[in-house]
């Protein structure tokens, strides 16, 4: 079998893995999004304990490898009778990890909004909460798009680490196939190509989104 026949042969199975990779990415980036916003707001506007917790969380998750975080969830927790499926542990690990990074991006975006706008909103009688919801977040979410796009692509790539806890994603499929036909290098070449294409498609799509929601004068970082 030459390389192209091989590719044709294994592509269906790899695409199945790709779907799992995309699911894993989508779920964890969403989890990270919600937690990330909460952490950023907590860090900026929370009282002392909340703010301290948020920055501790962010530092810890950014300072330690994803692999170790996944191992803690997948191999560590069962010691205390908490058993997660590899898929759930993968989402949780990737999501909790991404939350820390997203929180930093959101924080940067929020801080780039002038304090005066916050003051102006309070001056027309908006509560703090309403100001955050109507003035701060709508701007921050636009400003954050470029760095958020990077984070999405990062998560897409790092979802491959979930292979190490046996989540049935693209890498795992690749390894599975290679273990049968012993053509490791070629199989992973195809895997690499799929990632390459996925990353390109996602970044193009995000560029389009960025253009769509662009507002004159609202500078997007980077």
């Amino acid at each position: 079998m030459n390389f192209f026949e091989l590719t044709y042969d294994i592509l269906p199975a790899l695409l199945k893995g790709t779907v799992v990779t995309l699911e894993l990415t989508a779920c964890s980036i969403s989890l990270g999004f919600v937690l990330g916003i909460a952490l950023a707001l907590g860090r900026l506007y929370g009282n002392r304990p909340i703010s301290a917790f948020s920055s501790g969380y962010i530092q810890f998750f950014r300072g330690t490898p994803l692999l170790v975080q996944l191992f803690i969830l997948y191999y560590g927790l069962p010691r205390y009778d908490i058993r997660l499926s590899s898929f759930v542990a993968g989402i949780l690990g990737l999501g909790l990890n991404s939350a820390a990074y997203q929180a930093e991006y959101f924080r940067g975006a929020i801080q780039s909004i002038s304090r005066g706008q916050m003051m102006a909103a309070r001056a027309i009688g908006m509560s703090r909460f309403k100001t955050i919801m109507n003035i701060i977040l709508p701007q921050a979410l636009r400003i954050v798009i470029p760095s958020w796009s990077n984070e999405l692509i990062y998560t897409l790539k790092y979802s491959s680490v979930a292979y190490m806890i046996a989540a049935p994603e693209l890498m795992a499929q690749g390894k599975f196939i290679a273990a049968e036909n012993f053509r490791y290098f070629e199989v992973f070449l195809v895997v690499a190509f799929i990632y390459l294409v996925a990353v390109l498609i996602v970044s193009r799509a995000l560029n389009v989104v960025e253009k769509r929601v662009r507002i004159p004068g609202l500078q997007m970082a980077q």
């Binding site: 170790v68 010691r79 205390y80 790539k157 490791y184 690499a192 990632y195």
Partner: protein, 207 residues
């Protein structure tokens, strides 16, 4: 400790190749620019783990017999070089064209100007993002586990087999990584402070 050794080698490979790439992209001809940006795109788009496997299995595929450790150094080192090149390129480009012209007008060759005028500034500007890259590299060394390198996580695994305390061991490992990234970032921050020149971007050196 293998993790430290790996980190050091990855940073060195990444730095050397990264600077060359950045210079190639900024000062090189069309072909060089295309080559280095394709290199960058590829190494930044393929997950680290996949790169590891490609180098690990690829070396024997082409008949080379290199250790898992060396394939990890090459895979992750080249990957880091793609990220570092982006950092340096950004820094070099942020230094005004006028400085290059000024240096050349003093009779410096292009190489001398890069060496004595552009790089000293660019490297200073690169320090903060480079410190992020340092953290990434430290953490990514853990992926070498996947090809059997006996680094921190695998050492931990061996201990767990004996003690059956996965949680405690993994948390300890996490703390060790945390200390490595934290200490590194701290030192780099200190270095940045040390090397700081007030408003250096606007001043050109006198000869």
């Amino acid at each position: 400790m293998v993790t430290l050794e790996l980190t050091f080698l990855l940073l060195v490979v990444g730095l050397a190749v990264g600077i060359l790439l950045a210079l190639g992209q900024v000062y090189g001809g069309k072909g060089l620019v295309l080559l280095s940006s394709t290199y960058e795109q590829i190494f930044r788009s393929i997950p680290a783990l996949v790169l590891l496997f490609l180098f690990f299995f690829g070396s024997s595929f082409v008949g080379l017999n290199i250790s898992a450790f060396l394939s990890a150094v090459l895979a992750l080192g080249f990957r880091s070089s793609a990220y570092q090149s982006q950092i340096f390129r950004g820094a070099i480009q942020s230094i005004s064209q006028g400085q290059m012209i000024a240096a050349r007008s003093l009779g410096m060759s292009k190489f001398q100007a890069i060496r004595h005028i552009i790089l000293p500034q660019a490297l200073r500007l690169s320090l903060p993002p480079w410190s992020n890259e340092y953290s990434s590299v430290v953490k990514d060394t853990s992926l070498a586990y996947a090809v059997g390198v006996i680094e921190l996580v695998r050492e931990g695994r061996y201990i767990i087999v004996r003690t059956f305390e996965p949680m405690i061991i993994y948390i300890t490992i996490a703390v060790i990584y945390f200390i490595l990234t934290y200490a590194g970032n701290r030192s780099l921050g200190y270095l940045e402070e040390k090397l700081k020149i007030p408003g250096f971007e606007t001043k050109s050196r006198k000869e």
